[in-house]
Every structure is written in C-alpha cells, then in structure tokens.
Amino acid sequence: MSKATRLTRRAVIVGSLAVTGGLAVGIYALNRDWPNPLEEDLPEGAVSFNPWILISEAGITLMAPHTDLGQGIRHLQAALIAEELDVDLDQPEVTVAPGPAAPAYANRALAAEGLPFMSQDQGTVATIARGASARLMGALGLQGTGGSSSTPDSYVKLREAGAMAREMLKAAAAYRENLAMADLRTERGAVILPDGRALPYAELAQTAARELPPREIPLRDPTQWRLLGRPMQRLDILAKSTGTLDYGIDLTQDGMVHATVKLNPRPGGDLLSHDDSAALAVPGVSRVLPVSNGLAVVADSTWTAFNGAEALVCDWGPAPFLPEQADHWAALATALEGPPEKVWRDIGAQPDRPGVSPREYRAPYLAHAPLEPLSALIHVTEARCDIWVSSQFPGLAEQKVAAITGLPREAVHLHNQYSGGSFGHRLEFENIIRAAEIGTALRGTPVKLTYTREEDMAHDFPRQIAMARASGQVADGQVTALDLAIAAPSVTASQMGRIGFASAGADSQTVAGAWSMPYALPALRVAGHAVADLAPVSSWRSVGASTAGFFAESALDELIHEAGADPLAERLRLCDYAPARACLEAVGDMSDWGSPLPEGAGRGVAMVLSFGTPVAEVVEVHQTDAGLRIAKVWVAADVGRVLDPVNFENLVQGGVIWGLGHAVNCEVTYADGIAEPTNYYAHAGLRMPQAPEIFVRGLETGAEVRGIGEPPVPPAAPALANAIFAATGQRLREMPFANFIDFA
C-alpha cells in the first residue's frame, strides 16, 4: 500500500503507467468531497440534494453524467437513482440530463484496471490499492467514461444518492404531518401517508433541504428492486426509433454557420503551404481559416463546406512516425527480439527447450469509425463559450477549449450529447480542438464543425498494432507451459500524451487480458515489449485485451490441440477462477459442446477476463460453397449482477459482432504515413448477411458488479480462429482473417 500511496501523491496510475501533469493533487485532497455543481446556478425554488438530483416545482431532474455512446448508460444511471428515490422514469415530471462537467462526477472506477493486480485478486493488498486508486480518482475529479467502468462506478454511488434524497423527503413529510418516518413510504415521486394521501416530492423539497442528510444509507436488497434487473424500456429507445433524437451533428443555433476541416492526412503532420482560391470560389464558402495541422472551410451549409475543402490545394509535411506499414511490423519484430519492458507474470519454470516451438501472431491497427462522424457545435463570445458535443472526458475537453479560446475554465460550458457510437473515438479531442480554433476565429458567431467520413477515418487514432510470439510445452495430454511475449506501442502513453500528461512505466494494456489469465498452468510467463515511434494509437473497445486476448487464447488453443486434449475440457481443468469456470461451463452447455457436427463444420471456444468481467464464447462455423460461414455464437458473461437485461443482451451481441467483424474484415495500414481505408468500402466490420445468431447468458456469480461494454469483444476473434482450425485444420494467426480465407 505504501508504494501505491506514495505514487498517488503526485501521479495517477492509468493503464499501469504513472501519469503526471495537468492536475496537481495533494494528499489533503484525497478525502475531500467536491462541491455540488448543481448548487452553482440553482433555478429559483429548486433544491439539489446531491450532484445527481434536482427537484423543483417544475419536476425532478436526475443527472446521468457518464456519456452515453450507445451503451445505454444514461438510462442505467437514471434507473439506479430512481430505484432508491422511488420515482419512475416514465413519469412526465421526471427528466434525465447529462449535467455539467464537474469534478463531483469523477469516475472512481476508471483507474482500477491499470493497477498491477489481477482483477480476480481479492487479496488485501489488491483491495487496498483499489481503494486508494478510487480515492485518488475522486480527488483528481477526472470525469470520464471508458474502461467498462461506468456501471461499477455508479452502482453504489447513484443508489445512495437516490436513497439519501428519499430519506430527507420522508423526514420532511414526517415533520410536516407530525408522523413517524416508519409509517411513511414512497412511490412514484411522492411520500405516501398512512391514510393514502400522496405528497409529491416537489412540495416537500424545500422543507427536505433543511433536513440533515442521513448518516447511514442502507440500500435495498436486490430482491426488492422494481426496475433494476428487470426488462426496462430504455429512455432513448423511442427517440432513436423515430429519428427524433438529436445527436451533436444534428444541432443548430440561430445565425449558425457551417464548417469542415481538411487536415494533413498524415496524422500530426504539418501544413506547409496551400492555395485556397478555388475553395473560396465555391458558392456559399465564406472563409478559409488555419487550424492545427490544416485548414477549416466556413460555409453556408455542410455540403458547401465539404465542397470547399475538396477544392483546397495543400502541400502537406511528412508523417511524424514511420510512414510505411512494413516498417511497423519490422519494429514490432525487433522489439520481440529485445528484452521485455516488463515480465508481468512468471509462474513455474519454463522448459529450457519448449516442445512446441514459437509461433508468431499479428493484430493490425483498427479504426473506431463510429457511424456518426465527428462534429461539434460551438459558440464563443467575449465572455463565454458553449460547446455542444459528445465527449468521454468533458472536463478535460473544457480545459482544452479554455486554453484555445483564452477564456477562464469556468466560462466554458460543454453540453454533453448522446453520441452515434464511439468505441473509444470520443476519448480524443481532435474535433473539439478544431472547433475551438474555428469558434475563436469567428468569435460571436455559432459554428457547427462537421467532419467528412474521410477526414474522420484519416484522423482516427487507431487501436494498437501488436505482435506476439508464443511457445509452450505439453505432456501426458495436458498443457504444462505457455510462454507468451507481446510487443505493442503503449496505448496509454500515446493517449495520455495528447491529454497533456507525462507518463512513465510499463503499460499493462500491452498484455491486458493475457497476463491475468485465470489458468493454473504449471509454467506461465507473459512479457510485454515496448515499441516507440509507431502511429499514434488510442483506446479501442476493449483496448489491450483485443489484441493480447487473441494471442493468449489462440496460443493456448494450439497447445491444447498439440496435447490432444479437448479445448473446453482442458480450459476447464486449468481454470482456477470460479466465475470464469462458470462461463466456460455455461457456453459448453449452451452450445452442446461435443455433440456431432455436419461435415466441414467446427466449433471453437475462448475465454478472456477483461475489465474484471470473464466472458466465454463458442463460435460455430460451416464451410459452404460461398466460403466459410459464421453460423452461431454462444456467449456467457459474468458481471456479478445483470442490471439492465435487455440492454445487456444487446451489448453482448454487439460486442461479439464488433469482435468478429474486425477480426474477419478490418485493418488499417499506412502508406506514406496515410491511413487506409478512408471510408466504409472497407473496414465496415460485419454487415447483416455475415452476422451470426448469437445466444447470450448473463451469470451473476462474481462478487463485484462489472461492466459489459467491452469484455465480450476479446474472446470473439480467438474463438473464431479456433473454430476455423477445428473446421478446416488451418490455423489463422493473423488478423484480418479474410486476407487468408474466404468468408460467405
């Protein structure tokens, strides 16, 4: 603990890196609570019980500060509050808002994954370190959505927020009516008196605000839940089925102009010179402005701005990283030859000469490419800046905007929007920085910046590229040793660098999903090798586990086949973490593992524990005349508690499709420092005809409540590769698989 505490005085651990800069934290701050941001400009007559609840005559507002990227977290946050507050989300007087960016909304669970403890380790040291990390994240006030941490962060906190307000409202009713608290109950936004009369919260709020908050807030037992754990209709589902939900890209302001950008297609490269005469000649184009790494075109519609950008003639500088793809692979291979940055796990003695000689695995760069292109609506004036955009780090985004506009941080107001997907894309600030630059140049005029799909994909900081070598040993029908070395650029260092933090240490993301594999192998070694100067990379749905999980579960599968064992039975024999075992058993049961298959078909299994959530998947493939068909997938995931079952199933299915689609069809490669592809003619992932049937089971054996946004992704690729081997005898060690075999 002492080591962790010392570090926390000056640094935060992100992705296992000690990261410093930006925000200075003293130890004194570790236990302090941030002010309630809702108190700052409280509407007349309104009462805020805590940062999540505002009650006024006009209604009840629940704050859901974690950014909704399509994962349904705005609804779940509201449901967590509503469960204890005793309001229903279909009540007309209840609204749910993202709230302002504020340190009170710090994500305390965000950093836990980066700690040097396996998530299944519930020992004292690991537990204390997690507590310290959570306090530090609270002290930093870093509001963030990512790392499948929103549910763990919210699960207790938001129910407590609801219960606290409920108890104060009840106390107010008891005082007013001269009744005992025990005789009162609450329902649908009202305190119900013994005679059946209902006192709406709005009427009690002013009195309740004078009550002391309860010291102890016992939370209801899950058996008493009305909302959580049951099928709920998501708050946004009606709007998203009728085209009436406004995304950032849809917003307008009176007097608004449109803009787009044309940036050096070599990410981070400079603009050397340009000729904008043809662009300015496009009817409707009013201005061409400099922005970081390129130009912005201001026009009277999105389309005219796009046309103007196309007419720009630019001379671009070179890429500030290795420009050719082959050199990236060569750099990874060289790194694997050298000493590891860190050996993350070393159990037992590796054989002097492995019986199963080294095999090489590769995972390419991948784009996030969410369907909504980057955009931002901004209005900068002399005194204030409003920006309407979806951001996973709204507080950091406000800091960046403040620096560019020259306004104090308090004068910058980010209005966080529902996003049309993200998968990690909106952890970055590219659109926000450019919007602030354009908005500052046009001070006084609202401007909406819209990226073209091509600009978006050209400046999508991709998933880390990675390469691995694995060798091992088998004996008597069992796997006895696995030695796995993984090389990748540090996604954490790359991303934190753009935020403005310096970082040091070895990045656990290089080996995430592999180093902590819950298999009791007699000898297990997992090492990470660092590689510098590759393309800038960022967190991509499931981050390091998307590559390292593929390597680990492919290499293990090869060893199991080498041993002549059954892939599921041998995993079960080796697995020493009960929730992970339960997932493996469940998919075995669901898929009727071992039952006969038609000629040319095969099943593969994989299990990866990432973000604390074990997920096992069985994939079944069929050879057809048109190529290999991914027919069915069975998935079992243990999140401790399934809070929103319909959405849970949807997210798991989506995660599997994400994992499969990229494993089969997608890669980003660099030529002359420019990323290919540039639109969905490639890199679409799966389309409908390739999408398999997916059967999902949520397990609740784990001790902690965990997230589900990312963990279904990592097992999909290795389960598919393992199924392809079972069906065809061909072992695919490199993604995308469609480069090597045909898919139907």
Binding site: G243, I249, L371, P373, S419, Q653, M688
Partner: protein, 154 residues
C-alpha cells in the same frame, strides 16, 4: 435553382444548387435531421429515405432529380405518438444502441416489407446488406423485421 417536391406529404420549395444531395437539402435546408450522414458515398445506408416509395440513399440523389417527387423520411413514416408498425417493432425489440444507423435501417426495412410482406432471413439479408450498423444490432434488426411483418400481416 428552385426545386419543388413533397416531403412527408407537405409540398416544399427549396432554392439550392442543382447538385446538392437530397441528404443535405433535408438536413441543412429543411431541418429534417432524422436522416443521417454516415459516409456520403452509398456505403452505409444511414441516409436512406423513400422516393416515390423506393428506398434510396439520399446522399446520392441530386436535388434537381427530386423535382416533382414524393419523399418520405423517418419523420414522416411515423411519430413518437403514432408509430409505424416497423417503428413499433423497433421499440419493442429495443433494437437501437447508439441509434445513429436506425433511421436508415427502419426506412430500408419499411420499403422491404412494403414489397415483401413476409421476408425470409435470406431476403432480409439481401435487402439490409447496405445498411451498416457499427454497434452490431443485426440480431435485433432481424427479429424486429419479422415482428413488424407479423404486425403488418395483422
């Protein structure tokens, strides 16, 4: 140029460049933002609307080619308080994740069902192939189309 056409049953006249895509006429000129921009190149289907009853990619239709036509967008298919059967099925199956592709998916599905009232999985695959969902809601889209078909059969 001035172009007259009908959108969601209402006659409209816009004054735009002849080659401005219908997508941007709808979004930037008429403020109908339910129709989405995803790729601008007929690769994603997010911009799908109906023109004289046919599903088209509005990013590929020039304004001048819309003159005199009837355009139906997601806003005209149904409203939150008066859902089309396809939208009803979409709500019941809770299809959407981010939802950004869903206007296009729904318009494509509605066009499919208008021609093929009880489509097979293969027919659904063929009709929906051009509609990309990066969130991977395909299993639910398929279920919702079958459910909507059953509703429309009534």
């Amino acid at each position: 140029m001035k172009i007259g056409f009908t959108v969601n049953g209402t006659p409209q006249e816009v004054d735009v460049a002849a080659d401005m895509p219908l997508l941007w006429v709808l979004r930037d000129v008429l403020g109908l933002t339910g129709t989405k921009y995803g790729c601008g190149a007929a690769l994603c289907g997010a911009c799908t609307v109906h023109m004289d009853g046919e599903a088209v990619r509005s990013c590929q239709v020039w304004a001048e080619d819309v003159a005199g036509r009837e355009v139906l967008t997601i806003e005209g298919l149904g409203r939150p308080e008066a859902l089309h059967a396809v939208q009803e099925a979409w709500v019941e199956q809770q299809v959407a994740q981010c939802g950004y592709c869903q206007s296009g998916q729904i318009m494509q599905a509605a066009a499919l069902l208008a021609k093929t009232p009880a489509p097979s999985d293969a027919q659904i695959d063929a009709a929906m192939e051009g509609n990309l969902c990066r969130c991977g809601t395909y299993p639910r889209i398929r279920a919702a189309i079958h459910a909507a078909a059953a509703k429309l059969e009534g």
